[in-house]
């Protein structure tokens, strides 16, 4: 990638430097000090292949979200899939034929390493549609504001992932009876560029790791993983905060205790065990904070886009998706009067467990005017999305408040 701007030693070619200087309007004085193979962001392919209306929250590291109306497809296309990176994408050249996955840790009977071709040959391949949602999706709704990317509602996708079951690999390796957790390790680079620092290394309890839908995946929507989404290999764990689905995966550790990798501690991907007053400070100890597991019930209106103006007398065909972490959605309701009355929507079953479900509704409006159209999903445990912003927490996680759009009948 980008070899046209580097010479054979990995330093930027003079012509590329001239281009850089032209763009910056000054000489690149310290060009010879740039790390070999460093790719300046101007040449970075971070947004390559992404829809032009994706919203960039950060470009270092890349964090990009999808406006709800672009999520209308049942299977999210790559160009409309959100990006959440904690670190920088690997800069080394990736050769998938040389890439390996190592399974190790206190609770394996042996350490074992597989090439991707071994995984494909040795284990049965499965394809699932899986919802990946950032634990911080909706963070911008919390007051007072909490640290982190201020996601609106678009840090979610449901794409088709292909790979092998982690349980089949772990069965081949052999687990000890004391296995309680897995932790992943990827090849992303720490924002400080210190290669000794781990960017993020999270995981799930062994029970979740052994579910049929937990995949070691090499393909997304039928094609090789894009670099931004973890090429050539990643973990995919549907229904839980997407941060457990490690990208650029090279190692999985099977632990005899809760995994203690980077971003498993403090209030990272954790919420208070006891709810707190908005803004309340709380010591970041495991006694005070619990790890987020299944994501809460949620829905999106993906058609029409907010701001629709409709002629009086016409009905409105509304549609979207609903999902509920480890469980399914039982019912979706819509309201045009701020929740005073609700109408039941038509709801489809999921393609497979942990996929989102499509819903639709035909709405009519009593008279001209400004309306907010609200959608509310209820899961199979009877738990509903709240209309107001849910429990404030220091990390700004798990805002599953109802989505709504503005509609004018004219």
């Amino acid at each position: 990638m980008n070899s046209h701007i580097h010479n054979r030693r990995g330093f930027l070619k003079k012509s590329a430097l001239t281009t850089l200087a032209g763009m910056v309007g000054t000489e690149i004085v310290f060009a010879k000090n740039m790390p070999p193979h460093h790719v300046p962001l101007a040449f970075d392919e971070g947004l390559a292949g992404k829809h032009p209306d994706m919203v960039v929250l950060s470009d270092k590291p890349w964090n990009v979200e999808t406006p709800p109306h672009l999520l209308d497809d049942a299977i999210t296309p790559v160009e409309r899939m959100f990006i959440r990176n904690n670190g920088l994408i690997p800069e080394e050249k990736i050769d998938p034929s040389a890439w390996t996955l190592t399974i190790k840790g206190e609770s394996v009977k042996q350490t074992k390493t597989y090439k991707i071709s071994d995984l494909k040959a040795k284990f049965k391949t499965y394809t699932y549609q899986l919802v990946l949602e950032c634990g911080g999706n909706g963070r911008s709704g919390y007051v007072p504001q909490t640290s982190g990317n201020q996601w609106d509602q678009g840090a979610v996708s449901c794409a088709e992932w292909t790979g092998v079951r982690l349980k089949d690999i772990l069965n081949d390796v052999g687990l000890k009876d004391d296995a309680v957790y897995i932790g992943y390790y990827g090849k992303d680079l720490h924002p400080s560029r210190d290669p000794s620092k781990v960017v993020i290394s999270r995981g799930v309890p062994i029970k979740k790791a052994l579910e049929e839908e937990t995949l070691i995946a090499w393909a997304l929507n039928g094609k090789d993983l894009p670099l931004m989404h973890g090429f050539p290999l990643r973990l995919v764990v549907g229904g839980w905060p997407a941060s457990v689905s490690g990208k650029w995966l090279h190692t999985i550790a099977v632990r005899n205790k809760e995994h203690d990798g980077a971003k498993m501690d403090g209030h990272s991907y954790r919420v208070p065990r006891q709810t707190v007053m908005p803004g309340e400070k709380l010591a970041e100890t495991p006694e005070n904070f619990r790890i987020i597991e299944s994501m809460p019930v949620k829905s999106l209106i993906t058609f029409p886009k907010t701001g629709a103006m409709l002629d009086a007398g016409k009905s409105l065909a509304l549609r979207g998706h609903a999902w509920a972490g480890d469980v399914a959605v039982k019912e979706v309701m819509t309201s045009i009067d701020y929740g005073s009355t609700w109408q039941k929507a038509t709801l489809n079953a999921a393609k497979n467990r942990l996929a989102w479900q499509q819903w639709s509704a035909q709405l009519s409006f009593p008279q001209k005017g400004y309306y907010e159209v609200w959608a509310r999903a209820i899961d199979t445990n009877g738990v509903s999305q709240p209309m107001v912003i849910p429990a404030w927490n220091p990390g700004g996680y798990l805002n599953n408040a109802c989505h709504r759009i503005a509609v004018k009948v004219v």
């Binding site: 201020q150 720490h190 409105l316 107001v388 912003i389």
Partner: protein, 131 residues
């Protein structure tokens, strides 16, 4: 320290391009507006006499958008600096720390708006629905 300077320079160059590539813009749902009269085109940060020091200290490791997304009190900004020093190898800012905090507290402080469980929908771009 020398390594830091090298990375800093590379990073300054890098983020210039990031700015060229896409105009930094506030998040659409942000209810917050900067108080500055003028904005630096490359970074989107407020221009004032302390701007260059902030640009040098803060955008070497991360996007200026990480600042632009947030509104914190001076103490909260200080706690972010300490957090980056603990976890992300941020150096000791020395005498610039006060300058950086003055700047952040001036331009990126919390707004005074009342707490709302759901605010009115804002910035709706109306269009005629044809289907």
């Amino acid at each position: 320290m020398k390594t830091n300077i090298v990375f800093f320079c590379a990073a300054v160059v890098a983020f210039c391009f990031a700015a060229i590539r896409r105009e930094p813009s506030a998040h659409p749902s942000a209810t917050l507006t900067a108080v500055a009269d003028s904005i630096d085109k490359e970074t989107g940060l407020a221009l004032d006499p302390n701007f260059m020091i902030v640009k040098a200290q803060c955008t070497s490791c991360h996007s200026p958008k990480l600042i632009l997304q947030h509104r914190f009190t001076r103490d909260e900004w200080l706690s972010k600096i300490r957090w980056m020093q603990r976890n992300h190898k941020l150096w000791d800012l020395g005498e610039s720390e006060k300058t950086v905090l003055d700047y952040l507290a001036k331009h990126y402080a919390p707004s005074q708006s009342a707490y709302s469980r759901r605010e009115a929908l804002r910035n709706v771009k109306w269009y005629k629905l044809e289907k």
